[in-house]
Structures are given as structure tokens and as C-alpha cells.
């Protein structure tokens, strides 16, 4: 398969990348690992005559702990995140998303920024970023802004980014004590590219009263974007942290929070049933971790 002709820019600073993006506007395509962009160009799903590669911008691939948050650069790869000690210790659900994306060959190239900007409803890192309440860091030549990841996805392949903007990274607050999080994906085959259903949960509980203080549940592959199961989250707040509650959360997520579709990977009914099961399981696992 041939790649179309294009001009390649490899800026070394965010500033230069932003200027290029401003100059070329919608004619230019940003590229990080290229595992989506190059496939889509080869298959003639997208077209461009200018590619701006972000890989030479060193600061975009850093993972930094600062105060009570961790800043993950947009170009950090899955392999890099899986190996990072702070991600392993404090963001286990995100690590498991990264461990599960594609094959190890893909994970050596695929970036977290690319995964979110590609905005597939089934993307692996998004539910985990949502349950850790990540903020998306965005820059343009006009300045910087931040948006909650929960408001970042607008539709399949569509995000909150404007044409001149670049996603530079994510800010994740360090999870509080007595909290845990877990991610599960179901696919046809572990290394294949698309999930049938994927769910992440985060739970914080009060060890004295054994009740749930706070939870976040994110569902993938059951709507046009990954979504939060808000009804289920609200329902279990203040409830005892035990299996019954997790089951009820699963039932609510299944019946009220999602409206999946049939496709060749799985039927809507199957997806819906699995949302119930996986919501319960991820909450249970989060609770075990929190203790």
C-alpha cells in the first residue's frame, strides 16, 4: 500500500509545532506514533499533504510527578507508561489499559495523546483517564487551556480540539488514600485492535463507616464516545462498600447509563450484559485494592 505524497515537518519545540499548525490549518495533520495516521492514510480514509510530527519534541514524551499530580506528555508511549514506576504504583488501571493496547510492537509506538485524539469509542486509555479524572492540557499560539477529559470527546474521531490546537499532555491527580481503580477490556483477541466492551472504575471509601465516598465509572465501546456511568456513580455514593452495592451499580450502568449498538464484533445485548458484569467486577477489584 502506498502512502500519498506529503511534506513532513519535524519541529523540536511545542512553540514551533504550534506555529506550523497555525500556518497550515486544517491541511496539516499532526502525527505522534503514526499507528493510526499511517494506516488511515494508506487506506485512503484520510488525506493530507502536510504532516507535522511531534516525536522530536522531547518534553512531550515526559512523565513527571509534581506535587499532588502526575503530568503525562502527549507523546508518552504505551510501553513507556507501562514501565513507569509512578504509573505502576499509583495508576494501576491506566497501566493495565496501556498493557492491553494492541501488540507489544504497536505499544512501542502508540502514544496516549494519539489514542485520545483518534477518539475511537473503544480506545483503551480513555476509560482509565476518565476514572482518574484527568485534565487534558491544550495549547495553541493563542495560549493554553485545560479541559476535563469527561468533556473532551465529542463523537467518533471528534474531540474538543480546535484546528490550531495541540494536545500537550494530561494532568492526573494522585489518587487519595483508601482508593483503588481497575480496568477490564473484552476483545475478540487480546492483541487485536478493537474492544467489544471496556470498563474502568475508581472507588474511594471511608474505612470507618465502610461506605463509598466517591466513585467514577467509565464505559467504552457502548456509545459514540467513551462515557461516564453517572447514574450508577450517584446511586452508590454513601452506600456500603460491598458486593450488593457493586451489583446494583452494574445493573444501573447496564440499564440506564448505556445504549450500545449491534455490530460484527458483538451484539448490543451482549455489550449491555457485559457492562453490568464488568462494572461490578471493576468496582469489586477497586475496593479490594482500596483496603
Amino acid at each position: 500500500m502506498l502512502l500519498p505524497e506529503f511534506e513532513l515537518h519535524e519541529p523540536v519545540s511545542i512553540e514551533d509545532a504550534l506555529k506550523l499548525k497555525k500556518k497550515h490549518g486544517k491541511d496539516a495533520r499532526l502525527m505522534a506514533g503514526g499507528t493510526d495516521v499511517l494506516v488511515l492514510l494508506k487506506k485512503k480514509v484520510i488525506f493530507t499533504d502536510t504532516i507535522i510530527s511531534l516525536l522530536q519534541i522531547k518534553e512531550l514524551s515526559q512523565i513527571k510527578e509534581s506535587g499532588n499530580e502526575v503530568v503525562i506528555g502527549a507523546c508518552a508511549t504505551m510501553a513507556q507508561l507501562s514501565k513507569s514506576s509512578v504509573i505502576k504504583e499509583k495508576f494501576g488501571a491506566l497501566k493495565s489499559s496501556c498493557d492491553n493496547l494492541g501488540s507489544h510492537l504497536i505499544r512501542n509506538r502508540a502514544t496516549i495523546g494519539g489514542n485520545c485524539c483518534n477518539a475511537s469509542p473503544a480506545g483503551d486509555t480513555m476509560p482509565s483517564l476518565m476514572i482518574y479524572d484527568a485534565k487534558v492540557m491544550i495549547e495553541s499560539t493563542d495560549g493554553k487551556r485545560e479541559v476535563s477529559i469527561k468533556n473532551f470527546f465529542k463523537g467518533p474521531g471528534v474531540t474538543d480540539l480546535a484546528i490550531h490546537e495541540i494536545l500537550t499532555g494530561f494532568k492526573l491527580p494522585i489518587p487519595p488514600k483508601n482508593s483503588g481503580a481497575h480496568y477490564i477490556q473484552l476483545g475478540k483477541r487480546r492483541s487485536s485492535e478493537i474492544n467489544v466492551v471496556n470498563v474502568g472504575s475508581f472507588l474511594e471509601y471511608d474505612p470507618d463507616t465502610k461506605t463509598i465516598i466517591n466513585s467514577r465509572i467509565a464505559l467504552g465501546s457502548v456509545a459514540a464516545t467513551p462515557i461516564r456511568a453517572q447514574k450508577a456513580e450517584e446511586l452508590i455514593k454513601g452506600k456500603p462498600a460491598k458486593e450488593d452495592t457493586f451489583y446494583t451499580a452494574g445493573e444501573t450502568a447496564r440499564k440506564e447509563d448505556c445504549k450500545p449498538i449491534d455490530d460484527f464484533r458483538g451484539s448490543a445485548a451482549y455489550r449491555q450484559a457485559m457492562i453490568g458484569v464488568l462494572t461490578k467486577r471493576t468496582l469489586q477489584a477497586s475496593f479490594e485494592q482500596a483496603q
Binding site: 502512502l3 513532513l8 510501553a79 501488540s103 510492537l105 504497536i106 512501542n108 509506538r109 492483541s191
Partner: protein, 152 residues
């Protein structure tokens, strides 16, 4: 417009002019005649094009050749020496892990990268290590056995 890049492939230095829209797999095969690296799907699914780039196994069909300026690359051609095949290649032959052979270069490069990083992988680590490489012929078991026989 062509750009001149310098890189090291199998311990040999190369200087080559490439257009931006050429993948590493195509540069290896068509410009440098290193046709041991195969192309099956050209979209990252099959792993036939696996090479080791700066110490990590990657799909060379999803990497722009111009972006490998300064890189160190290992391909299947770098494994055998004047003394004969590389021990991993020997093991693949010995255990019947090769049938048509199309997946073998990629499979062997993934194996080499796995063993370079982890000399004593578990069964799960071995299976994970070749999970990006598809084989239409062997059913994987003999490939697994070949890799298992190379543990230290």
C-alpha cells in the same frame, strides 16, 4: 523532496536519500535490498515486517523511513554470521517452527527482542512476546517450543 538520513543497520552505516512518504519496510526492501523483512498486511496487524529499532521491536510498515535518521536497526539479515545461523534461527529449524517461512523473519526478530530483554521468559511472556506476529501455518505451538528452548 528527498532527505538524506544516516543510520546503522546490522552494524553497518548507511547514508541514504529518502522521500517522506516511504516506510521503513519499503526502504529496507526496495532501496537496500534487505528483503528478509516481509510485508504481509502493511497496516500493523501481522508483524511480518518486525525489525528492532533502537532496541525495541516495531512494525516497520508503520514507521516513516525519514524518521529513522540516527537510528540503530536490526533486521533478520543481521542474525546469521559466517559461522552459521543464529541460535534462535537454529532452534526454529530444529523444532519445526517454520513451514512456509513468511512469518519467520518477523517472528524471529520479536523472539530476539524478547530474549534480549528477558533471558528467561515465562510461558505467558513468550506468548505475549509474539502476540503481534501472525502465523498462518504452524499453529504457534512449535514456535513456542523453539523459543522456550532458547531460554537461559
Amino acid at each position: 523532496m528527498k532527505k538524506i538520513i544516516n543510520l546503522t543497520i546490522n552494524d553497518q552505516a548507511y547514508e541514504i536519500a529518502v522521500v517522506p512518504n516511504k516506510t521503513l519496510a519499503d526502504m529496507l526492501r526496495y532501496d537496500l535490498n534487505l528483503t528478509g523483512t516481509k510485508k504481509g498486511c502493511d497496516t500493523g496487524d501481522c508483524g511480518a515486517c518486525t525489525v528492532i529499532l533502537n532496541g525495541d521491536a516495531v512494525n516497520s510498515c508503520l514507521i516513516l523511513a525519514v524518521q529513522t535518521d540516527g537510528a540503530v536497526i536490526e533486521t533478520i539479515e543481521g542474525l546469521a554470521t559466517d559461522e552459521g545461523l543464529h541460535p534462535i534461527q537454529e532452534a526454529f529449524v530444529e523444532k519445526g517452527a517454520i513451514q512456509c517461512g513468511f512469518c519467520s523473519p518477523g517472528m524471529i526478530m520479536s523472539t530476539k527482542n524478547l530474549l534480549d530483554k528477558n533471558a528467561n521468559p515465562t510461558e505467558e511472556e513468550i506468548r505475549e512476546g509474539i502476540s503481534g506476529n501472525l502465523c498462518r501455518c504452524t499453529g504457534y505451538q512449535k514456535i513456542f517450543e523453539a523459543i522456550d528452548s532458547q531460554k537461559s
